[in-house]
């Protein structure tokens, strides 16, 4: 059996992938609970109930709604107003099934969030360093000049639309995969860390440029929330893609690192 298997993912990639999956899940769900303490977002340095929010989630006691700018969407049952597991109406922004812990508890959510933030930040740093040293970035994530060709990108979009994935072209990522992985690893995830730090009053004293580059603490909080939303969309698409492109091989290769060899595959072009 071993002879028929080709190496796909490095151990560092696999360990980080699963640690990060746990960390991001906890960070998202505890983050939604923290958001519930003040479900309004602002731009600039300050912002409270007394100021104009660009996004708010609230309720009218009988309906829940999300208001973005001047547009109001009714979201009864999910956002703003929902039923708890005990069938009692809860006037909270994000429902209990989406938060850690289930019942409103800001203190506990913050403890979860700030503990798993360490796992997340150290994990990302370790993965980046390892991937730089072992060639993962250079070989698999680096977007080559030829790949930027619009024709090439368009072809890849068409392939995705037809659900034709180069599943057997194991180990090389197509251009859309590279865009999303590079965007997540080098833009969204670091932004989560830096906007998170920019919300800390102590870090504002230690590194004043941090909240300056985000144009204020409340802007940093808004960007933190937007990046979390984009990451959630990425994870959903990622799961859909894994499902469509062969979930058994996909998940197995992220656990054992190996995929079955097929005649037309090119294992030597894969990893290490």
């Amino acid at each position: 059996m071993a002879n028929n298997m080709a190496q796909r993912h490095k151990a560092t990639t696999r360990i980080w992938h699963w640690l990060n999956a746990i960390a991001l899940t906890v960070l998202l769900m505890s983050g939604l609970m923290i958001f519930n303490a003040h479900p309004r977002l602002y731009w600039g340095e300050y912002g409270s109930r007394e100021d104009r929010a660009w996004l708010e989630i609230d309720d009218t006691r009988t309906t829940g709604f999300v208001k973005i700018g001047s547009t109001t969407l009714e979201t009864t049952g999910v956002l703003g107003l929902s039923l708890g597991a005990d069938d009692k109406v809860r006037r909270v922004a994000f429902p209990g099934w989406a938060t850690i812990p289930t019942r409103y508890n800001l203190g506990a959510a913050r403890r979860w969030h700030f503990a798993f933030a360490w796992l997340f930040a150290l994990g990302l740093t370790g993965f980046m360093a390892a991937s730089l040293l072992n060639g993962h970035i250079r070989r698999h994530l680096h977007i080559r000049r030829t790949e930027w060709a619009p024709k090439q990108i368009w072809r890849d979009i068409k392939n995705h639309a037809r659900l034709r994935f180069d599943a057997h072209n194991a180990g090389t990522y197509n251009i859309l995969q590279k865009f999303s992985y590079v965007g997540v690893i080098f833009i969204l995830l670091p932004l989560m860390i830096f906007t998170g730090l920019a919300m800390s009053p102590a870090m504002n004293a230690a590194l004043p440029w941090l909240h300056d580059i985000f144009a204020g603490r409340q802007s940093a909080r808004s960007i933190h929330f937007i990046c979390a939303a984009l990451l959630s969309i990425f994870v959903l698409l990622h799961l859909v893609m894994v499902f469509l492109s062969g979930p058994i091989n996909g998940i197995r290769s992220m656990i054992t690192g190996k995929v079955p060899q097929t005649p037309d595959s090119n294992p030597t072009g894969v990893t290490s």
Binding site: T62, G77, V89, R111, S200, P201, N204
Partner: protein, 257 residues
Amino acid sequence: MKNNRDIIGRRALLRGATLGGSALILSGCDALNESDMFRSALRTAETLNQTVHRSLMDRAALAPEFPASDISPVFKTNGSLTGTSAEYLAHVDDKFADWTLRIDGMVAKPMDVSLETLRAMPSRTQITRHDCVEGWSAIAKWQGTPLRLLLQQAGLSARAKYIVFHCADSYGAQPYYESIDLIDAFHPQTILAWGMNGEMLPVKYGAPVRLRVERQLGYKHAKYVMRIEATDDLTKFHGGKGGYWEDVGDYEWYAGI
């Protein structure tokens, strides 16, 4: 309630789909949240954060200060809106004319300082951002007496480690209190503010004096401060965790994040 159920009922289906997956995660997380061992593991992150913050930054690193144009048009009121003790209410009636701030505990010369004396001391004025643990922020101009001047006058003992602030407001039977370490107590921006936006500090914002400890979250900024006590042990006060919200809501004692 019947009405609410109907309104929500048609959306409940939506919820069902997601429920399966997240119920597994949630029941696990809620169980962990109830475990003392897990909670104390999470708490180590607070120590880690405090240690890293303290080693990363200069003791005197200043919190950002802002131009007057950045002051919030309306500063949100929060927490208690007045002191509750009979003694405090009497002071409100006579405009704090006989009010004194008690400074005692591990000091060589315990003292009582009148508001007039406090205002006559050298003061610091700063336009800073107040960050609530809930996530909102508001900016105001604060004027007050640097805490370090009072501690120096009272002769702070070398054995003291913390400064405890006893307040006149309370939640039910529980009086509000807070505490900070000496690094923050001697920080140049740590003041007992008696002025706000160019006026005497209003009652709803903590009159006659409130603490400003600018590198930490709002719940550390004790309002209605009546007594300042130097100590080497926080466990002997109230719930033992160094502050009202720390005791009641399991908030971090170090509120730098």
